[in-house]
């Protein structure tokens, strides 16, 4: 039965197996497993769902199953908060689906020169966008990048306290907490929250200033922050951090960087952030990626946990090649003595990012930044015009903003349920995580929304809020 020819396995043909057995002088395949002691072997045969070796049958099953999903192409979505629906140029998809990139594993710098170059171009272009000379290959997510960056800072200055905004995405904070280790561990990093100002949505500068000290390894802020607000005191915070001998770490949504200043311009030492908005579909969160970037200084370079690709020469005069730099400090090179760890990450998305950055060019980021800003503000103003609906935070925002429904007497959950029935995914419900904001939701508006979409949201909300409830 095991010799049922299977399309994925060229040698599921009895005659071929017999040839190989004959060549090695074995009678059966079973005897090749002699190393496994009898009492290690399972007694219960595998009980799995029936095989669908037939591609048409499997295709039908998968499509039937997945068709139960609703999604952001068919429904109108205002969800954001760490994963966003931005435009993915068709060329990005075309490139990352190329078999050569899709199936590559490692190779040599010569045999896989194209992939190395694409990686280098990812780092080079992202470096332009964030204004950094040193960019590593990507890490899993923004949260992971932030976690690594905090640990880098601690290794750089030997301190063990890190300041983090109070109003941070709980998803991301949970990730960072793991990187900072629990108090029982010797290398534990203590996370001190910087209070957020419920009027502006920004970090409370006074509170932060009071907490920055000679124990501070790093000050970590986000731009824009979890609630979409631009942290206007960033430069002041960086100055305070630097004055205390701490590293300034800024987490950034890179799609904002056509209109927002690059973090080093206001004092960031380490820039981290997400790569998902740069040409990668959401995939239910499977499109996430993170990056770490710094000045090209040896002290930073020697703390990167990521793989680093450098341009170099080759055995052929004048030719450009690419190789791994500082591989020895990675976990591959030094196991537990390496800088944190690395492994498979999201290198395929780095190629999508590279394509995206090339397509966008400087003007593309300028345009998309202005478009998002204008549309998000349009949505916010229109929402604030609805009875009982407010946009409570006064700080300037980009792409996302908080909408407070408290005065409508309705919960976000009930409003979102009603919206969902009408084909709209309302903003992310903040009421449980940030009770201080009441019945608030985080709304996200991108370049993919058209005015009619926002108007439809307003009309639908009007209708819902006018209903008895």
């Amino acid at each position: 039965m095991r010799n049922q020819p299977h399309p994925f396995m060229a040698n599921t043909v009895s005659a071929i197996q017999q040839e190989m057995l004959d060549a090695i002088g074995a009678k059966t395949i079973a005897e090749l497993f002699e190393q496994i002691p009898a009492d290690h072997r399972t007694q219960a045969p595998l009980d799995l769902p029936p095989a669908l070796a037939s591609e048409p049958a499997l295709r039908r099953h998968l499509i039937d199953t997945l068709s139960q999903n609703r999604h952001c192409e068919s429904d109108l979505s205002f969800l954001g908060g760490g994963c966003w629906r931005h435009h993915v140029p068709a060329v990005c998809d075309e490139i990352v689906r190329r078999s050569e990139f899709l199936t590559s594993v490692w190779g040599t710098p010569s045999s896989d020169q194209g992939r190395y170059q694409a990686w280098f171009e990812f780092c080079s272009q992202l470096g332009e966008l964030v204004d950094c000379d040193l960019v590593g290959l990507p890490v899993y997510t923004w949260g992971c990048a932030a976690g690594h960056a905090l640990r880098m800072a601690s290794r750089l200055n030997g301190r063990r306290t890190v300041l983090v905004p109070e109003a941070i995405d709980p998803e991301r904070l949970l990730v960072i907490r793991n990187y900072c280790e629990p108090p029982e561990m010797a290398q534990h990093l203590s996370i001190v929250p910087m209070r957020f100002d419920p009027a502006t949505g920004r970090i409370d500068l006074a509170d932060a200033a009071a907490k920055i000290s000679s124990d501070t390894a790093a000050v970590y802020i986000e731009m824009p922050n979890y609630l979409g607000i631009i942290e206007e005191d960033a430069q002041r915070l960086a100055e305070l951090a630097h004055a205390a001998g701490a590293e300034m770490i800024v987490g950034v949504d890179p799609i904002s960087l056509g209109v927002l200043a690059p973090p080093p311009s206001y004092g960031a030492d380490i820039v981290v952030g997400t790569t998902q908005p740069l040409g990668v579909h959401m995939f239910g969160g499977g499109g996430l990626g993170g990056f770490i970037a710094t000045r090209d200084e040896e002290r930073y370079a020697r703390e990167y946990p990521t793989l680093l690709v450098s341009l170099t020469g080759t055995s052929r005069p004048g030719e450009i090649g690419f190789g791994l730099s500082l591989a020895e400090q990675s976990s591959y090179g030094s196991r537990e003595n390496g800088k944190d760890w690395t492994g498979n990450s999201v290198y395929l998305w780095a190629i999508a990012n590279a394509v995206y950055l090339s397509l966008m060019g400087p003007q593309g980021f300028d345009d998309v930044g202005r478009l998002i800003t204008a549309q998000a503000h349009y949505a916010a103003q229109r929402l604030a015009s609805l009875p009982g609906v407010t946009v409570p935070l006064s700080g300037s925002f980009f792409k996302e903003f908080v909408v407070d429904f408290s005065k409508t007497g309705r919960s976000v959950a009930s409003i979102n349920h009603a919206l969902r029935e009408r084909g709209i995914f309302g903003g992310h419900d903040l009421s449980a995580d940030l009770p201080a904001l009441g019945q608030s939701a985080l709304y996200c508006v991108t370049e993919l929304h058209e005015r009619r979409d926002i108007d439809r949201l307003i009309d639908t909300l009007s209708e819902i809020l006018n209903h008895d409830h």
């Binding site: 952001c72 760490g82 272009q125 060019g361 503000h377 969902r420």
Partner: protein, 503 residues
């Protein structure tokens, strides 16, 4: 193609993608968007990104793809379980139902995806004997890290974390095990191999103590050697109060024959992007599926998928949850591909894959060791190997001066992907580690063997051709010196431009 760096292909004014103008009604309401950004926070100088047309960007990256060998040739890349990445799965993952999902959508709107996550959980439980799986870890190493975090939580609840600060592994376990343990804050104890190719029970006993937090180990190892005392190991560690984590990176050869839980392990990890047919993409997105016993389930990261009243729902992690190792569910599209692989293979197909990969490896092992200059690690071990064998070119190197690096560079001239050597530290000199797996045809394996035989022959007869390889590739062998020199390395184009400026 002699393809330039994209930064050199720019011509001011060109556009690769444009966006709609801002709607006049929008502008009427909000005004100039620049004014909506505080002046101090506005970008003043544009990023020096290339300005290119859409077709030129496409062609540039198409050229780069053609300069990538990938699995276009024959790739028997050891430890990575090269197998077929079904193109059906890629087509499915490209559909809106997968690509256009937001992770914060209400579970009502995610029933298809949640059903698949749940079904794969069940399938992996069946394969491993574990009680629950999560897919948040974004790679095998991240799953090891998940285990290190769960180990912390488990001992913290018992008030023992401050004293249990050691994790034991072996020198043949993947570097991610000690590295993630260390990142999680543990001290790492690494056991060396002994005569039989694995550390002895005595060696383990000598390091186990009340400080032992966990054992993190793979089995069989990358040399194809199965530790027959592994149940005993688990017992010893358990008795000392430690947890046992099975790094199942080398699951391919033992699928259907053993179950991690039955051997006593508390947790294990499968690589969905390798063993379960997901594509590697040059290094992710990936999934390290982490499964554990019921006792460890309360520590799992959320959100968890549960089936209740016929519908799939999401629960946050339990109170003792480690929170998150990565935001959201993980690389969901890879989970779907792995599920599709399990369904395409079925129980019999999975068993056949294990059979074929072990058969093919032993076939290769026999043929490769016939080649002058090639030896097998631990040649005194007479038993058949599992799905991989570690070889050495020590003899070749001594006889001819040709190294494994030279051979790698020469292999690609034949359209054969360079072999994997071995993780650091090398246990055997001049190592290499092919893995045949179940996908490659006997003809491909024979070709691979013939290529290696040819190169070894060249090493003995015309070594220069091997030492100066590659000859048929877009670039020659790279100059390694600048890579470690702060004054010359250049991880970005702008760094390169600055550093070459004086020259």
């Amino acid at each position: 193609w002699d393809e330039p760096i994209v930064m050199e292909m720019s011509r001011e004014g060109r556009r690769g993608v444009v966006f709609p103008d801002i709607d006049a009604v929008v502008t009427g309401l909000v005004g100039d968007p620049q004014r909506l950004i505080p002046a101090s926070m506005r970008r003043s100088t544009r990023p020096a990104l290339p300005a290119m047309s859409e077709p030129d960007v496409l062609r540039h990256y198409l050229h780069l793809s053609q300069q990538t060998l990938g699995m276009m040739g024959i790739s028997l890349f050891g430890t990575c379980t090269m197998k077929y990445n079904a193109r059906l799965n890629e087509a499915i993952a490209a559909r809106d139902e997968v690509a256009e999902l937001h992770p914060r959508q209400h579970p009502e709107t995610l029933q298809g995806t949640l059903q698949i996550i749940h079904a794969l959980d069940l399938a992996l439980r069946e394969l491993s004997g574990m009680d629950r799986f999560v897919f948040q870890a974004a790679g095998g190493a991240d799953a090891a890290y998940t285990h290190a975090c769960i180990t912390r939580a488990y001992h913290a609840v018992r008030g023992e974390l401050e004293t249990r600060d050691e994790i034991i592994t072996t020198i043949q376990s993947h570097p991610c095990n000690p590295a993630t343990a260390a990142t999680a804050g543990f001290k790492v104890i690494t056991l060396a191999l002994e005569e039989n190719g694995y550390p002895s029970v005595e060696a383990l006993k000598s390091v186990v103590s009340e400080r032992t937090a966990a054992l993190m180990v793979n089995n069989p190892d990358d040399m194809g050697i199965y530790n027959p005392h592994i149940k005993e190991w688990v017992r010893i560690v358990h008795e000392a109060g430690g947890l046992c984590f099975y790094d199942h990176a080398n699951f391919n050869g033992v699928m259907s024959r053993i179950r991690a839980r039955e051997l006593g392990f508390d947790a294990c990890m499968f690589m969905l992007h390798k063993t379960f047919g997901g594509p590697k993409g040059g290094g992710g997105p990936a999934v390290g599926a982490y499964g554990c016993s019921a006792a460890l389930a309360p520590y799992l990261p959320g959100p968890l998928v549960v089936k209740r009243d016929g519908a799939y729902q999401l629960e946050p992690g339990a109170d003792g949850s480690i929170g998150r190792v990565r935001e959201f569910f993980g690389n969901v599209q890879t989970v779907i591909k792995a599920y599709a692989w399990v369904r395409a293979m079925g129980a019999q197909g999975i068993a056949a894959a294990a059979d074929l990969s072990v058969l093919a490896n032993n076939y290769m092992t026999q043929e490769l060791t016939k080649i002058r200059g090639v030896t097998c690690s631990h040649p005194h071990i007479g038993a058949w190997r599992m799905e991989m064998t570690r070889f050495s070119l020590e003899t070749l190197e001594k006889d001819t001066g040709v190294t494994v690096f030279d051979v790698q560079n020469r292999m690609v001239d034949f359209g054969v992907d360079a072999f994997w050597l071995a993780h650091e530290p090398w246990i055997v000199p001049q190592p290499f580690t092919p893995e045949a797996g179940e996908m490659w045809s006997k003809e491909d394996i024979d070709t691979w063997i013939a290529v290696l035989a040819q190169i070894c022959h060249e090493a003995y007869t015309t070594p220069e051709i091997v030492r100066t390889a590659p000859h048929n590739h877009p670039a020659g062998r790279i100059d390694g010196a600048p890579l470690e020199d702060p004054s010359r390395w250049a991880m970005t184009w702008r760094a390169h431009v600055k550093k070459r400026a004086p020259a």
